[in-house]
Amino acid sequence: MSKDVTIGIDLGTSNSCVCAVIDGKPKVLANRTGEQVIASVVAFREGGKIEVGNAAKAGIILDPKHTVSSAKRLIGRYFFSEEVRKARAVCRYEIVPGENHGVRIKIREEEFSLPEISAFVLKEMKEIAEFALGQPVSGAVITVPAFFNDNQRQATKDAGRIAGLEVLRILNEPTAAALAYGYGRDLRQKVAIYDLGGGTFDVSVLEIGEDVFEVLATCGDTYLGGDDFDDRVIDLLADKVQSEHSVNVRSDPYAFAKLRQAAETAKITLSTTDVAQISIPELIEHDGKQIALSYSLTAKEFDKLTRDLILRTFKVCDEALQQSGLTVRDLNGVILVGGPTRLPSIRKAVKEYFQREPEININPDEIVAIGAAIHAASLASSDTGSYLLDVTPLSLRLGIAGGLSETIIERNSPVPIDHTRVFTTVSDNQDTIAVRIYQGEARQAEGNTLLGEFEFSGFEPGPRGQVKIEVAFSISTEGIVTVQARDPKTGAEASTTVSMSSGLSEEQIQEIIARGRTADVAERGPSGPRTLGANEPVPMLEEGEDVLLDMPSLEADVSELLEKRDETPFFGKLDGDLTEAGPTGETTLEIERAPVAFGGGSREDVPLGDDDDDEVMGDD
């Protein structure tokens, strides 16, 4: 075996999986207790111990305030985003605002960034691999949903570094699945990867031609996953308790956590049987008595509850097919990825939609990790037996006048790619331009995700329209965005790897690594993951403590934040002025487009077109 062992990690919303290629064969690695699917749950025990994985899962019910699950839903998000708002309503651990509109998890007065939380999970996966392989692991390929934006990709990469891994590559989950499916099989096929994870849905259409895996299009919904199916069951059960006993289960974190667990178990049961018996003998105390919950959930009823969620996935499939220029008839295979795709209702619907039986000989929980490991092994050996040609899932946009944005690189463009545009100033002696970069499909800038903003002032000021500024946008093979502004006359440059908005700075990452908080995981010793045993004191809420005290103010908090963001540097700094501009966007703040000197051509500058076609960009 070579000295450098590399691994592939599928870092999932609900579960994670690690795999390595051993003697040319991918092998899913198990922890000390033989488990291959590891819950992406981090439990912070009293006294500073940190538990990760299936053992930590018990904490969701026993100690919900100090047990973090589904962190992937929050990674790379802004505090004011819809997803964080939703998480604050359902999660019992404390989610607080961090620097630059970022998100922090507060556990016993200690604040953790999302990359730190994910790093605990990654570190666990690394240790599982080291235990299974009997040697140290350094490099890893970590997968992300194809639809992840730059902020989420950067944050995941940071998590890997914090966990002490050399992140060889961030790889899209569906692409990894396709690699696992087609590697070494000399296929010539067009396939769709239907990837329904715990928290995200992705669909990718690929053309596999022997050793080339070319993604033709990818589409997704980062707000749709198996958790949403659980939520439907939770709602059903909570409403039942409410109507029968007039008790609000949602207001009790313990009862709610029990409901959540029961709902998830019922969903899994329905993957193999027609009826799931839900029975919680002591759900919640009411008037001094324990209320028991018992319910038979039939597959038929579950299907009805979740039908619209399944239909939503096909809307995304429609889009992906349309973007790839193919129809279902052109496809040679459909591959299912993610635990929820075990549900018979989903398999049936997928079969109907794609007019073919999906591949069933592949474990949907492991396929992504297997693909990641295959790619990790080939990257490490520089002997690439397969070539992945991926695309960028979201359009890259530039903020322009009037609160609008303009597409610079279209979604589903192959990566790596770059694009250079030339802009000029409109006011005399203007010495600064603001460059704001977004990802998304909305014309209104605010409808997209802001990746970052920077000011460029290194150019030589001059009369309006005379100054030329080159702005180069580029996306790497990992989907990571870089933007550079340059004055071609002076050569002055300003650049940013864009994700700076809510992410961690390099200094912060180094500080976290130096602090070595993740080392606690290793202190557990050789006995393997600890379960919350009978002798262990179960952390309990103190009597009279109301964990929901902060709940009523949630709405107020969020709306306050939304108002505040208009006053902060990242948002609306320019919009206040620009929205007053007429519908034509003609304001004194505009920067007109200048002809570009591209590729050493000899073209003379041409007059600009009609005014309403002109590109505008806010300045200060």
Binding site: L379, Y387, F598, R603
Partner: protein
């Protein structure tokens, strides 16, 4: 498939002097399936994943080449953009920049006019032209131009009609 370091460095140096066809080693008359083969071949030779262990200088060069290959493929696989590129190539543009492309688009739009009145008077001009009433055609076109003073296509047409009228007055236009 691996290229050696000096080849890569050399290619990165001359990349700004290559057109997309040269870059992809492609015949300018190649069809779309030939383009795809050439694209895959080029991407394989310069895939950033194959150069992870190389020094920064090489990785930077590979990345630059890979980006340009993608750019070329994106342009050539789209029929309209390929036509615009082929046109730009004849005037010495080796890359299809946003501005050149916009210009080509504008030209297409200007053919038929960009305003309702411009379009209307262009149609009237063409009717007069078909009837052989050149002075009236010129009159209508001039009206069209008052609505679209920046429309270069209109102005070129006006020049042409005025030349024709001049020639007709001399009586030298042969009848077919």
């Amino acid at each position: 498939m691996m290229m050696n370091q000096s080849e890569i460095k050399a290619l990165a140096r001359v990349i700004d002097r290559l057109d997309y066809y040269q870059l992809l080693k492609l015949d300018p008359r190649a069809n779309s399936s030939q383009l795809r083969v050439a694209y895959h071949d080029a991407r394989k030779r310069f895939h950033p994943d194959c150069f992870l262990a190389e020094p920064d200088e090489i990785r930077g060069a590979v990345d630059r080449i890979a980006r340009r290959i993608t750019e070329g493929y994106m342009v050539l696989r789209d029929r309209n953009r390929r036509a615009a590129y082929d046109n730009a190539l004849t005037s010495g543009h080796l890359r299809l920049s946003h501005e050149v492309e916009e210009e080509a688009k504008t030209e297409v739009q200007q053919q038929r006019g960009t305003t309702p009145n411009g379009k209307r008077y262009l149609t009237l001009c063409e009717e007069e032209e078909r009837r052989g009433a050149l002075p009236k055609a010129i009159q209508q076109l001039k009206t069209a131009i008052t609505f679209e003073p920046k429309n270069l296509v209109f102005r070129q047409k006006l020049d042409r009609l005025e030349q024709q009228l001049k020639a007709a007055k001399k009586g030298s236009t042969p009848k077919i």
